[in-house]
């Protein structure tokens, strides 16, 4: 447990909005170990974005932590001051949409150097002022990582504007931005969703290689099991703000035990010949069903499912599972 890079334990978070109190996260629980690529899978609206922002120490406006902890190497990310020290510097971030993430009126070099300016490099001289020589150091480091993400002619690329790059190249530059500060964890928020399929493949391969080369752990958020299969060592599945199942990628993909995991996987077009879906719709966080939030849509639901939220139990094969029907398996 103690060697976890990132641990999210029993996190319950609600957001006060105009429509009332939305219970966005309900006992989210998973951990990322050093050097591993951890997948976080869930549909749109399951609380992924809120979770990402909370891990970065930037919970949405009006958010309230009801219970639980979020810690980076034992340091409390729910403390804004602590989080400010960690984000950018020790947790790199790769955004979802490379077309929107850059400020269009500044050069990409200026924008990525800005990350290094405020986060610094671990081997920067202590207490050094941000001057020409420090900036030159940062620039050299940036060129090094731009080369690692295979941007041709990195020196020249620094002075170009975002719109002068393709989406794939922009995503590579953003990956370089996440790697530049030598973080031990990278948070990747659906980094391939906005890209076309061939570019997606290249970016995934690159991420896989970089994670290994730089020995950096990654929390890879996605809604796509195809992506999970390609890049993740382990995966945690979320439904409507609840962690339902966590295990190694082969365990989850080849033998899903939570009904939701199985049904979500069946929706993947490559895995089924006919187009299927999950009947019903995701419950509103304003009025979540009691107990297991998947129960209203679950074919195996019984009274036990709605009476109490099933706890996340360690099962015999090492996975964690929150389903009353699988408790005998655990």
């Amino acid at each position: 447990m103690s060697d976890d890079i990132l641990s999210v334990r029993d996190l319950k978070l609600s957001v006060k909005g105009d429509a009332g109190l939305a219970q966005i996260l309900d006992h989210v629980d998973f951990a990322v170990k050093p050097g591993e690529v951890m997948g976080l899978v869930g549909e749109s609206g399951c609380g992924k974005s809120t979770l990402i922002r909370t891990i970065l120490g930037l919970p949405p406006k009006g958010a309230r932590i009801d219970s639980g902890t979020v810690a980076f190497r034992g340091r409390n990310l729910l403390d804004p001051k602590e989080a400010q020290q960690i984000r950018g510097r020790e947790i790199g971030f790769i955004p979802q949409d490379p077309f929107q993430a850059f400020n269009p009126v500044f050069t990409v070099g200026a924008q990525i150097l800005e990350i290094l300016r405020w986060s610094g490099l671990p081997d920067d001289p202590k207490g050094a002022r941000y001057d020409k020589s420090l900036r030159a150091r940062h620039k050299a480091r940036l060129i090094e990582v731009l080369r690692a993400v295979q941007i041709p002619d990195p020196e020249e690329a620094l002075d170009r504007y975002p719109h002068q790059f393709s989406g794939g190249q922009r995503q590579r530059i953003l990956i370089a931005g996440a790697l530049a500060t030598r973080p031990s964890l990278i948070l990747a928020d659906e980094p391939t969703t906005a890209l076309d399929v061939t570019t997606q493949m290249q970016i995934l391969r690159l991420l896989r290689e970089l994670a290994a080369d730089y020995n950096v752990a990654m929390l890879f958020v996605t809604h796509d099991f195809g992506v999970v299969a390609q890049i993740c060592d382990r995966v945690s599945v979320m439904y409507a703000g609840q962690t339902v199942e966590t295990g190694t990628t082969p365990q989850i993909i080849d033998g899903p035990r939570h009904p939701y995991t199985g049904m979500l996987m069946a929706c993947h077009p490559e895995r089924s010949t006919e187009i299927t879906g999950i009947p019903g719709q995701v419950s509103s966080p304003l009025t979540p069903p009691p107990g297991c939030r998947f129960a209203p849509r679950c074919p195996r639901a019984t009274e036990a499912c709605t009476s109490a939220r099933p706890g996340l139990l360690n099962s015999r094969d090492g996975r964690q599972l929150a389903c009353v029907h699988e408790e005998e398996f655990a």
Binding site: R53, L56, L58, Q84, R87, G88, R89, G92, F93, P95, D97, Q100, A101, F102, N103, P104, V105, F106, Q111, E114, I115, W118, S119, Y161, H163, G177, A178
Partner: protein, 336 residues
């Protein structure tokens, strides 16, 4: 960029031709007889007819327009019926006063509009924001001539801290004519008393003209800042550890300037037309009051020439605006 500049300058020419043609037609078809205006109140019909013949007013309209264009192309805009001087000379006399007034008003509107708008956007839904929004609606809804008279009542008649009219106190010698802008001329020749008086005289007319502009620029800046602060790139900048202050300045702010800058260009045109009324109220010896006199006295040559000058200024200012946008946004620069 140079090619863009040349192309845009050439494109002004057809615009000005169209503007002249429209003004020309409106004047000629409007029913007022310029010959009668020149001849004066005591003229006999024969005298008026002779003037008509001299001026070519009996020729077909296309011929008249063509003759006017040919003369104008040679720098001859005719003689003013009112001042009996060449219109070109009159305009050169009057133009600096209007330029000084509108430039000061534009600077005032830009600085205040962008500052208020940006702060309102950053402190969205604060008391400051609500105040700016209410005041800017009021500012847009206020008629400038009414506002001018109110200013005069309060600051000149009541508090007696600002001069009522003109560019300088009566009898005060203007600074040497270098640019024609009193603020500049008095400053470069070291006449600080003149500078101070010129400044005091500028305050009320400039504030009056800029009022609507401050409101417009503030509203555009505010919404641009709000949009930029909620943009994906601002969220990204936050997620990778930029400090909040740094995100605002320069990243959000520079992005937010593109729209207001367009507005500033458009406003310049509005300012020049609003100067027409405001100059009359403040007895400001500029093109606006000249134009009003010209219209009232059917001084067609003067009206045409002033229209041409205002049109040309408007065209040039908009080219400057486009070039500023190129500086602010590299994507715009690429299309130049």
């Amino acid at each position: 960029m140079l090619l863009f500049l040349i192309r845009r300058l050439i494109l002004i020419i057809p615009v000005l031709l169209g503007l002249l043609l429209l003004t020309f037609l409106m004047l000629r078809l409007g029913g007022n007889d310029p010959a009668a205006a020149i001849a004066g109140d005591n003229a006999t019909p024969e005298m008026i007819e002779r003037i008509r013949e001299d001026l070519g007013l009996n020729d077909p309209l296309p011929v008249q327009f063509w003759d006017y264009l040919v003369r104008a192309a040679h720098g001859d805009f005719g003689v003013s019926a009112y001042s009996q001087r060449p219109v070109g000379i009159d305009i050169l006399d009057r133009l600096p006063a209007t330029l000084e007034l509108t430039i000061v008003a534009l600077v005032l509107a830009s600085v205040l509009g962008i500052t208020f708008g940006a702060l309102a956007g950053i402190w969205r839904n604060s008391i400051f924001d609500h105040t700016v929004r209410v005041v800017s609606v009021a500012g847009l809804a206020t008629a400038s001539f009414w506002f001018a008279i109110m200013l005069q009542l309060v600051f000149s008649m009541g508090l007696e801290i600002l001069p009522l009219r003109g560019r300088l106190p009566t009898g005060w010698t203007p600074p040497p004519d270098i640019t024609g802008l009193y603020l500049v001329d008095s400053l470069v020749t070291g006449q600080f008393a003149t500078f101070w008086y010129a400044f005091l005289h500028l305050v009320m007319p400039a504030v009056t003209i800029s009022l609507g502009g401050i409101a417009t620029i503030a509203r555009f800046t505010r919404s641009a800042v709000v949009a930029a602060m909620h943009s994906e790139y601002a969220a990204y900048e936050q997620a990778v550890g930029y400090p909040r202050r740094r995100i605002l300045m320069p990243y959000v702010l520079r992005n937010s300037l593109v729209t207001p800058v367009t507005q500033i260009g458009l406003l310049f045109g509005a300012f020049v037309s609003s100067a027409v009324a405001v100059e009359s109220v403040f007895d400001w010896p500029g093109l606006g009051s000249y134009l009003v006199e010209a219209i009232f006295t059917s001084d067609f040559n003067a009206v045409l020439a002033v229209t041409l000058v205002i049109g040309a200024i408007y065209g040039v200012v908009n080219i400057l605006v486009d070039m500023t946008q190129g500086l602010l946004d590299p994507r715009v620069a690429e299309t130049m």
